[in-house]
């Protein structure tokens, strides 16, 4: 007789199945890379590429020493003095944004490309510096207050998007691959030949994902918070609830996608077909608002859009669960429908 007889045998079965799933995932180095390392690398790369730069100093040229001297008073301009022909050449090849030279009757002529924003900015800065050097006093005094607030930068937008994408990818691939592999190896058929309750098999995937979820969400959020100071404004418990719901939704979608496929190739194709539109449309890397109004209702109904919108609202705007109720409804509907269909369609051999 068994020593572990305390726990009713069926609960032991669910615990064992979940443990086995968990072990299988953690013993797969590639899976760990995609779940934990890849999102951090992606966040780091994009965070650096799209970081907010300090205000740029613009290069300009002046053709007379007097002009060069008066322009030197502006901190945001780097002035060099050059003969007219050389200065014009530097403007043509983009080394300077503007050339300031004397015009007829003591005027100043600014040469620049009006389609180049740097040129227009340089024009305003240079003109202000020249006028002030000549003794202009502004009638209204002004002062600057500079704002670089966490929560409105690209990285703040990106982290919830990556979190949502990671929830989707790890749930779908983790479940889809394992199930199709087990079906191909006739392992599912072997399990069905035991007294194992079938719904425990499916449930064990969801439970083991929830175990991994803590680490998975923690890595992305922790990286965002530590390296880029990405805020979590909403209650932490709300964020956790949204992640759990999102993960369960994608588990159901993964179970459904893998419910009949017999080969890894078939499953991969199906997975990509399901996920690709969401990678593009659901606002992972850029706002879904950029798509035409006509398709917005469709985009809003996609599961990943709902997850990411809810995560962003909670993390960046501090929205409560009540404020993201529409997104929660979309997630819940997908979850229930997909799980129900998966149970019905699942090929047990």
């Amino acid at each position: 007789m068994s020593k572990a007889g305390k726990m009713p045998f069926t609960e032991r079965a669910l615990a064992q199945l979940t443990l086995v799933r968990f072990r299988e995932t953690t013993r797969e180095p590639e899976a760990l890379f995609w779940i934990f390392i890849f999102p951090v690398l992606l966040a780091a790369g994009l965070g650096i590429a799209f970081r907010n730069r300090p205000p740029e100093v613009l290069n300009i040229a002046a053709t007379t020493p007097e002009l060069a001297r008066s322009l030197a008073g502006e901190k945001l301009l780097r002035v060099r003095q050059a003969p007219q022909a050389q200065a014009e050449e530097a403007l043509r090849v983009g080394q300077v944004a503007l050339v300031a030279g004397p015009g007829a009757g003591g005027t100043v002529v600014y040469a620049y490309d009006p389609t180049n924003p740097d040129g227009r900015t340089a024009r305003m800065l240079a003109d202000r510096a020249v006028e002030r050097a000549a003794g202009r006093v502004d009638p209204v005094a002004s002062a600057d207050r500079l704002i670089e607030e966490p929560g409105s930068r690209y990285i703040d937008f990106l982290i919830p998007g990556l979190l949502g994408m990671n929830l989707m990818g790890s749930a779908m691939w983790g479940i889809g691959y394992t199930i199709v592999d087990a079906r191909r190896k006739k392992l599912i058929k072997r399990l069905v030949a035991t007294p194992m309750p079938r719904h425990y098999y499916l449930l064990s995937f969801v439970l083991s994902r929830l175990l991994l979820l803590v680490a998975e969400v923690g890595v992305v959020l922790g990286f965002g918070a530590l390296v880029f100071h990405v805020p979590v404004r909403g209650p932490f418990i709300d964020l956790a609830a949204l992640c759990v719901l999102g993960s369960m939704l994608f588990c159901s979608l993964g179970l459904l996608t893998a419910s009949r496929a017999q080969t890894i190739e078939a499953a991969s194709g199906l997975m990509n077909t399901v996920m690709m539109p969401m990678w593009i449309c659901s606002g992972v890397f850029f706002s879904a608002q950029r798509f035409p109004d006509a398709v917005q209702p469709v985009i809003k109904a996609l599961p990943l859009t709902a997850v990411i919108d809810a995560l962003r609202a909670s993390m960046l705007q501090g929205a409560g669960l009540a404020q993201v109720a529409p997104q929660i409804a979309v997630m819940g509907a997908w979850m229930v429908v997909c799980f129900g269909l998966a149970l019905k369609l699942f090929r047990w051999r």
Binding site: A4, V20, E28, T194, P195
Partner: protein
Amino acid sequence: MPDSGGKAPLRVRQLRKTYKDVVAVDGLDMEVRAAECFGLLGPNGAGKTTTMEICEGLTAADSGEVELLGMHWERDAPQLRQRLGIQLQETQLSEKLTVSETLRLFRSFFQQGPDAAEVIGMVQLQEKADSRVGNLSGGQKQRLALACALVGAPDFLFLDEPTTGLDPQARRQLWELIERFKLAGRTILLTTHYMDEAERLCDRVAIMDHGKVIALGTPRELIASIGAEHLVEFSSARVPDAALLAEIDGIRDVHAENGTVRMQVTELHRAVPALLDEMARQGIPLTELRTHSATLEDVFVTLTGRHLRDE
């Protein structure tokens, strides 16, 4: 087995199963008695595995009846599953798990049975208990598959081609294990297309062909049914007079072909000296003499005109 009350643990009546246009099982009847090892022997495609899977409740029959341990799949599936040990053909267990993790998983599905360590001892995998399944040899994997069938202390064991693809040493090792479970009084239904396996392990054998049982009995009875216990073959410089050989006591069915003479013999110890005397009398020197005991293979060839391994 209190609820099977002395009845045969497995009774199959008029079983029929068709896949599209192929009749896999064609009105099959059989009965497996308590504590016997019953073998389904036949070539690939004879319907052995389909029959097995219907009895295991994994495939639904088109018609016919299966009564297992006094129960029926339609009504008693959960109770039945608890009492069966099943080994399927070609199951690949998860390679990332260790032997003992795999067995703990399978053990957790059953209400009773030996614990994982005990089953590992039964199939002699103690040294591999903490090895990953992916690192086991073919024979060790097959023993693990057998262990997975034993964790529920089953009353009835299904083994589908348990030694297919193994080297001779691994096969003998597995045979010894199966023989031990036979001695422990378990009822076993096994399929095989190896005649030597069936002869060694099975108390009774049903020879299957085209979804039907074409012969049934103990291996000894089946071999006796073709009327010859031994086969003798010899070559000689000249072909002797076959009619004179056929007159020797115990020799039947003499065939001469390409300088080789084949005959069926019932009493080898009498027939062979007589044969040698007759050859000496005719003055023909022998160049080769071979004898072998009749096997189930010979039974199959006699019944169907084909060899077991023919596709």
